[in-house]
């Protein structure tokens, strides 16, 4: 097999995968539509691609769609940025004071394993039925993991390099700024990917609990008025948002990550 044959084969295989991926999606939509049009499934419960299309179109015409998307996206953005920056801050604090890290270790472990949704009702009582509660909910879910992953990144700093800094009598701040943070840079960037998925879970959970707007609200409202077209439209919009955000973070990672 020549090199050009190899490349051809490789490309053909890649194209085949893409085509199959698209065909699965297409047949899912087509079968779903046929089943509901022929009344094999109850379109009142299972909706149908056509109904979803109409629902989303109407939401778009009334501009409501964009309000909901905007609400959810801004909640995601705030929680994501807060989660990463607070996580970085606390991880640095733990790195600089190992005793502090040891004191909080069991609390982090317990909080990490607790299903944070359980705290939802308390959060609403304390912070009220508003956006603040949604962001707190998302933070509870993404912060602990951010702290743990960034902290372990900081701890991986090369011991010989740390000693080298000591031989020049470097201050703690110099070591942090010139060695520890640059060393952990890639692992901090990698933690963004984990953080975005968790933030999405947090925000949607929060919206389920309290919101007056947002994609989570759309889904819950649809359930309450038994408008399953709305529920499934909401899920599909959410699917698209998550996919775009995830791809966005991967792209960001590709741009930001450094190879030495």
């Amino acid at each position: 097999m020549s090199q050009s044959d190899f490349i051809k084969k490789y490309k053909r295989n890649k194209r085949f995968i893409k085509v199959m991926q698209f065909l699965i999606l297409l047949s899912f939509i087509v079968i779903w539509q046929i089943l509901s049009s022929t009344n094999v499934i109850n379109s009142f419960i299972y909706s149908s691609p056509y109904n979803v299309f109409i629902t989303i179109k109407n939401l778009a015409i009334s501009k409501e769609l964009f309000t909901h998307i905007f609400t959810t996206l801004s909640e995601i953005f705030i929680s994501f940025v807060l989660g990463i920056s607070l996580g970085l801050f606390i991880a640095i604090l733990f790195y600089e004071c190992p005793t502090l890290a040891k004191i909080f270790d069991p609390y982090l472990t317990v909080l990490n394993s607790l299903p944070k949704v359980a705290l939802g009702p308390i959060i609403i009582i304390i912070f009220g039925a508003n956006t603040k509660s949604i962001i707190i909910m998302a933070l509870l879910i993404n912060l602990i993991v951010s702290i743990i992953s960034i902290y372990s990144g900081l701890k991986e700093t090369d011991k010989v390099r740390l000693k080298m800094f000591d031989t020049f009598k470097a201050t703690k701040w110099q070591k942090l700024k010139m060695l520890v943070l640059p060393s952990a840079y890639n692992s901090i960037i990698a933690s963004l990917k984990l953080n975005i998925s968790l933030t999405l879970i947090g925000v949607i959970t929060g919206e389920f609990l309290v919101s007056k707007s947002g994609i989570g609200y759309l889904i819950i409202y649809g359930t309450q008025v038994f408008n399953l077209d709305l529920v499934i439209s909401g899920i599909i919009i959410l699917l698209v948002i998550s996919y775009i955000l995830y791809k966005g973070v991967i792209l960001l990672e590709k741009i930001l990550i450094k190879t030495y």
């Binding site: 010989v160 080298m164 031989t167 840079y185 450094k258 030495y260």
Partner: protein, 245 residues
């Protein structure tokens, strides 16, 4: 005081949960200004501890260290410890950056003198092991130390580059007229580079023996290895290592 540094009756104990561990029992040594000396001993005998104490990186339990004047100490580690995200120039400047005495011209001069001019803007991964070690030495030399402490500086290199790099490093240290204390477990390396060798006993260490390495036709470390005195000292130190105290 004729010596640059005098180490007197240094004792070092470590505290662990399983009790106190004696690392250095009683070590004294003197180093003349401008000389190159080595401290040898089996691994785990406390050589590194001694070097760390001289450098001020670790506290001693008792004893004292006298310096001729207020001297500056430079330290060269086993590994080059270069930062992969910095260029060769920035790596060489790092020590001065930390001590806030940035002198780019001087560092450029050192890099130029020691054959690294073309690599200034390259990153460490593009350099050979020996070149990296040279950059590490320049990083330390840039701070203009009076005394250089070398902690097994060649042990991370393969045998071939080890000979060459130790030759290079020796020449640089001599050209810059620095006093150097090197610790190593490689007796041949110690003899070929140094004017004096101190032998430490097994842990807890005491100074077991001291040798003035006298070679009539002393030249570079690699050439020293083929001088008749070389094998004489080599055999002697080997014999003394196993000798009970």
């Amino acid at each position: 005081m004729n010596n640059l540094i005098e180490v007197e009756n240094i004792k070092k104990n470590y505290h662990t949960l399983n009790g106190e561990i004696e690392a250095l029992k009683d070590v004294s040594l003197e180093v003349k200004e401008g000389s190159f000396v080595s401290i040898v001993g089996t691994s785990g005998c406390g050589k590194s501890t001694l070097l760390n104490i001289i450098a001020g990186l670790e506290d001693k339990t008792s004893g004292q260290i006298k310096f001729k004047k207020d001297i500056k100490i430079g330290y060269m580690l086993q590994e080059d410890a270069l930062l992969p995200w910095l260029t060769v120039l920035d790596n060489a400047l790092l020590g001065l950056k930390i001590t806030k005495e940035e002198d780019t011209e001087y560092v450029k001069y050192l890099l130029k003198t020691y054959g690294l001019e073309k690599f200034m803007d390259k990153y460490p991964k593009e350099l050979s092991g020996g070149m990296k070690q040279r950059v590490a030495l320049i990083r330390t030399l840039a701070t203009k130390p009076d005394l250089l402490l070398l902690d097994e500086p060649f042990s991370a290199l393969d045998y071939q580059s080890r000979l060459k790099v130790s030759n290079d490093v020796y020449n640089i240290i001599k050209k810059e007229k620095k006093t150097a204390i090197m610790i190593t477990h490689d007796i041949a390396e110690a003899i070929s580079l140094s004017e004096e060798v101190f032998l430490l006993s097994k842990s807890p260490a005491i100074l077991k023996k001291h040798y003035d390495i006298i070679m009539k036709e002393r030249s570079t470390p690699i050439k020293n290895r083929s001088l008749p005195e070389f094998s004489y000292y080599y055999d002697m130190i080997w014999r003394d290592i196993d000798e009970p105290i």
